[in-house]
């Protein structure tokens, strides 16, 4: 395969050189460069062959390489030869190459749409197959979740995902936000309105570092250090349900991870408030904290709320921390010391091992993925709308 690619690129290079040399022999004419003629031949040599190879790789991967290889090389020779034959003095190769370049740029930007569509379609497809077996109402509102034990028996029993949704909400939107919102918001306020410039210069990047640490590291910290400490605390407080797979441990660590998301969006929203509003408040004799609480925060509220929603979306989609520190057993409990599980955790658990693509277990993972995708899509949409409204109010 590598050799084949090299051969195609080599032919394209030869095409460039040939086209360039040929064009040099023409008398120069305005607006037509030999270099462009070279590119014209090279593009027609390389592109069709590469496109063919790509299609082949998608449809018949890895096996039977001789036939497509021959075809590709033939296509390269024919394409290059035809292009070469079209070269004339004054032939506007530049325009044609540019049209191809624009098409290539357009194709690159299409990758995003194709990916989005791919995600949506594959989740809808697999999810649809799941809902053909398990009724949607059963799945969304059922409270009994034990998919690992259902093989053979009634597939709809044990497919109630409500405890998972609750766990994701409780860990991601309640506990994690309980940590991240106050810490992130107060940090942003302190660093932008109180701290000396010198403190700000090192403290702001230091906070950002929290967002750059891989989630597997947070997961390890949660599992090894935080979770046992929380369990011991729970036992000391006399809480019977205290577990080493508690919602609290995963949520706390997740909250720390989310701090910089909240603080940086809050910082943006606060600094978008017109300076003269803050000065008007100060000039009336308000203290800095009164100015922040009564003028800056209310004005920046849509932006801050949008940032918090984005943070919730990130927390709900976070996987490694809950895989390593939360529980695999699904229960509905508002006790933070009790074990809890989440949608993301169950997706990983369901797809562990060599499951076939058709089993209800595997399909359930995609159904969960569909719910997660739609939820984060919705949160992001609302968040961006809130943040845009702030932008409109400013203008």
């Amino acid at each position: 395969m590598t050799a084949l690619l090299l051969a195609v690129f080599g032919l394209a290079l030869i095409g460039w050189l040939a086209g360039h040399a040929r064009a040099l022999a023409f008398t120069a004419s305005r607006g037509v460069l030999p270099r462009q003629q070279g590119w014209y031949v090279a593009v027609w040599t390389g592109l069709p062959a590469l496109a063919l190879l790509l299609c082949w790789a998608m449809m018949r991967p890895a096996d039977e390489i001789t036939l497509p290889a021959m075809l590709a090389l033939l296509l390269a020779l024919v394409g290059g030869g035809l292009a070469f034959a079209r070269l004339r003095p004054g032939f506007a190769a530049g325009k044609r190459v540019e049209r191809i370049v624009v098409a290539a740029l357009f194709a690159a930007s299409m990758v995003a749409i194709v990916t989005t569509a791919g995600i949506l379609l594959s989740l809808l497809w697999e999810g649809g197959r799941f809902f053909a077996i398990v009724p949607a109402g059963e799945f969304l509102f059922g409270t009994h979740w034990s998919p690992q034990t259902i093989e053979g028996g009634d597939p709809t029993a044990g497919m109630g995902a409500l405890p998972l949704f609750w766990g994701s909400f409780f860990i991601g939107a309640v506990i994690a936000m309980g940590v991240a919102v106050p810490l992130g918001l107060l940090s942003a306020i302190y660093l932008s309105h109180y701290a000396a410039p010198r403190t700000r210069r090192w403290a702001k990047p230091a906070l950002e570092v929290l967002a750059g640490i891989p989630t597997v590291v947070y997961g390890y910290l949660a599992a090894v250090t935080v979770a046992p400490a929380i369990r011991d605390l729970g036992v000391a407080l006399g809480i019977g349900a205290a577990s080493s797979e508690s919602a609290l441990a995963a949520g706390l660590v997740m909250g720390v991870m989310i701090i910089p998301f909240v603080s940086s969006t809050a910082d943006d929203a606060l600094s978008a408030v017109p300076r003269t509003l803050a000065e008007a408040s100060l000039a009336l004799g308000a203290t800095p904290s009164e100015t922040v609480r009564h003028v800056l925060l209310p004005t920046a509220l849509p932006g801050i709320a949008g940032g918090v929603l984005l943070a919730v979306s990130r927390a709900v989609g976070e996987t490694m921390i809950v895989v390593m520190a939360a529980s695999s057993v699904a229960t509905i409990s508002a006790n933070p010391f009790a074990p809890a599980t989440t949608v993301t955790r169950q997706i990983v658990d369901l797809l562990t091992g060599e499951a076939t693509f058709d089993s209800a277990k595997t399909l359930a993972a995609f159904a969960l993925g569909l719910v997660l995708f739609l939820l984060t899509l919705f949160l992001n949409f609302v968040a961006l709308a809130a943040m845009r409204r702030r932008g409109a109010a400013r203008a």
Partner: protein, 285 residues
């Protein structure tokens, strides 16, 4: 009146303390995390650890194979995501007609950047393993999956870098008769390059630390040998950390922390380069 003023001063003082405490707690968490990993792991880092492969015994286990796997996956990710991302960013900023279509592309890029990484794992599992039949656990599939995830990050960074190029430069080039494509590639791209590169490094460092989508495409097996090809089974550093964190053998605790230290050093180095590039760009401008 005087009592009221005193109360206000006290409230001001409390608020300031509260803010300072929030910063202190946040940065304290960071220091605790870094410190505890360093203390637990620094002793486990030696030449054998950096070169070795995974093993059933903690004393013989190393991260050489995982490092190699990480580099292969990261290389493929960037090789795919960087060109596609840069071209898409150039198209959206410089050439796209203002249309509903461009808005749709924009919207899907912004949305992809916020989709949980595990969703990309589901897509990779279905598309690359299920439909295309590529081998499980291979750097090829890992790189493809992470490339889809990294591309939007690069597009977004690239667009803001391209937008920062002053319009006067475009107008100057257009005025001497350059075509839009020539303006884009001769004038805009070179000026935006440091910013694009910064975005690529940040996207790459995110891909380097990513675990969840790779678990879904089968990268969770015990791999006692370094991968030699893109389709061989391989493991990557974050997955290795995840696998070791589950081991009962106490010896692996030190190994896990040591691997985390190595991963963090790599990430900080990448981010340091990105910060340096950005700083240099700001100074020159």
């Amino acid at each position: 009146m005087r009592r009221h003023a005193r109360r206000r001063r006290a409230a001001e003082h409390r608020f300031r303390l509260l803010g300072r405490a929030a910063v202190a707690v946040s940065i304290g968490c960071l220091l605790f995390l870094l410190g505890s990993m360093l203390v637990a792991g620094i002793g486990g880092i030696d030449g054998h650890f950096l070169r070795g492969t995974d093993a059933t015994e903690a004393t013989r286990a190393g991260i050489g194979a995982a490092l190699r796997g990480s580099l292969m996956v990261l290389g493929l990710t960037l090789a795919l995501a960087l060109p596609v991302g840069v071209l898409a960013a150039l198209y959206l900023e410089e050439l796209a007609p203002r249309s509903a279509w461009a808005t749709l592309i924009e919207g899907s890029i912004n949305n992809l950047a916020a989709v949980p990484s595990i969703i990309f794992g589901l897509l990779g599992l279905l598309l690359f393993l299920g439909t295309m039949g590529l081998p499980r656990s291979a750097p090829l599939v890992g790189g493809l999956t992470l490339a889809l995830m990294t591309m939007p990050v690069i597009v977004i960074a690239g667009r803001s870098a391209i937008r920062a190029v002053p319009g006067s430069i475009r107008e100057a080039a257009l005025a001497v008769g350059a075509s839009r494509v020539q303006v884009t590639f001769h004038h805009v791209l070179p000026r935006a390059w440091p910013g694009i590169l910064t975005g690529a490094i940040i996207g790459g460092s995110r891909a380097l630390g990513e675990t969840a989508p790779l678990l879904l495409i089968g990268m969770r097996a015990f791999i006692p040998a370094a991968p030699t090809g893109m389709t061989e089974p391989a493991t990557v550093l974050p997955v290795q950390i995840f696998l070791w964190s589950d081991q009962i053998d106490r010896g692996f605790a030190e190994k896990t922390s040591a691997a985390i230290v190595v991963l963090l050093v790599l990430l900080f180095a990448m981010n340091g380069v990105a910060a340096w590039l950005r700083h240099r760009g700001e100074v020159r401008r």
